[in-house]
Symmetry: C2
Subunit: 244 residues, 2 copies
């Protein structure tokens, strides 16, 4: 692996910042090499030095990546529709995509009146343990679906679905009904309701989702808003300029 | 420069995606080397391949960088207050920081009823040609201020401030009054009104800004909302956990 890739990959959700020696250790590189490469990355703004001296990935990296990714174009298109959902439903509203085998939330609009603490954007969940994940899995290609259902499925709460047969029934139901509602599948106190967002080629490109305090919302009261917004996003995506 | 840094830096706002040979050309690397490194970056999700075959920076890069940067923690804290401003003022609302000598917008909430097209997040403006930039410059350290005022200042519109003496008068006024309103300084048809956001150590960490159609808003009608939200962000930053 190239040394710069090792350095960049050393940062993650659990350890977003570290000392130079910590970075050298995590990247498994000599301190002198790490020092030289970090100076170079600092010069480009790809790494930042905090007032405490610790190192983090830099704003310039975020800036480049924000402009660069397809899923973030999708996010730009979806945000106004997500605002509509949040205004009507008054619950946290998220947009998620499949990325490297798990669910990545690319946008989250927090509802101040929700009793649930707002999580951060750019968090991940296992595919089988979230309403967004099941929606994305329902419409994913068969190869990916079999790969997920063939792997050991982690039990995050007592209600996480871990039986492939039960999950398959849910996936069939999602394709028939066009939504899923899960209670406590990823976090015990949460209810998640998710619907698919279709792209121009009629493939599912994202899941639109609300997260509410468990059993605090009735699905029929929320679903029309989610479905309407998902249709709006699909329509806007069809009108969007083609990818550069 | 390390080869991976060259590859990453080859992507920018004007050219967010390119072919493999285009990337090799822009990074000034042999095609075979570029191919090998790109395969490695693809494997880590740091680069993505579009359906057209073109290459872009990947979602994983955005994910890592979103978690990594100080200015993005600030963004997380500020967004609810920015939503309040937009709800009251009904104009595009942005948050900007200084980064590598220019103004980087780290968040932008679009107001659907605004006649102005919404720009993208992660855009930049020259410091002297935007209301956010002048606010950040007014409270920047003297070294940076002199460096900006000592460089050639680009005339983006007939009304861009390019005379260092005039800019200095504005900066003094900003420090006295706590805000600035500029008409047509960066884009002829726009009015920008910006206020500083103070961090825990009483240093200015960002500028909060609304962008309206030129002369469509009166400053006294908008300013109380901006100032109230800026105070709210400062208060929330003081309560926030210290940087990891």
């Amino acid at each position: 692996m190239s040394r710069v890739v090792r350095l960049i990959s050393a940062f993650d959700r659990e350890v977003p910042s570290m000392s130079l020696s910590g970075l050298a250790h995590r990247a498994n590189l000599p301190l002198s090499t790490t020092h030289r490469l970090v100076e170079e990355l600092l010069g480009h703004g790809l790494i930042e030095r905090l007032p405490t001296g610790r190192l983090r990935l830099g704003l310039r990296m975020w800036e480049l990546a924000s402009r660069g990714s397809h899923a973030l174009d999708l996010r730009e298109t979806a945000v106004p529709f997500m605002q509509d959902v949040r205004a009507v439903v008054r619950q946290h509203t998220t947009l998620a995509v499949l990325d490297h085998g798990s669910v990545l939330y690319v946008e989250r609009l927090s509802e101040p009146s929700s009793p649930l603490g707002s999580a951060n954007v750019a968090q991940r969940m296992p595919v089988h343990a979230s309403s967004s994940g099941l929606v994305l899995l329902a419409y994913a290609d068969a190869g990916f679906r079999e790969q997920v259902l063939g792997s050991p499925l982690q039990q995050l709460t007592p209600e996480t679905l871990v039986d492939p047969l039960v999950i398959r029934r849910h996936l069939t139901e999602i394709r028939e009904r066009g939504y899923v509602a899960l209670h406590g599948a990823g976090v015990s106190e949460w209810t998640g309701i998710a619907v698919p967002v279709f792209g121009p080629g009629n493939q599912v490109v994202a899941a639109l989702n609300i997260i509410a305090a468990r059993n605090s919302v009735r699905t029929p009261a929320v679903l029309p808003s989610l479905l309407t917004a998902a249709h709006g996003i699909s329509r806007a995506l069809k009108d969007a300029p083609t990818l550069r």
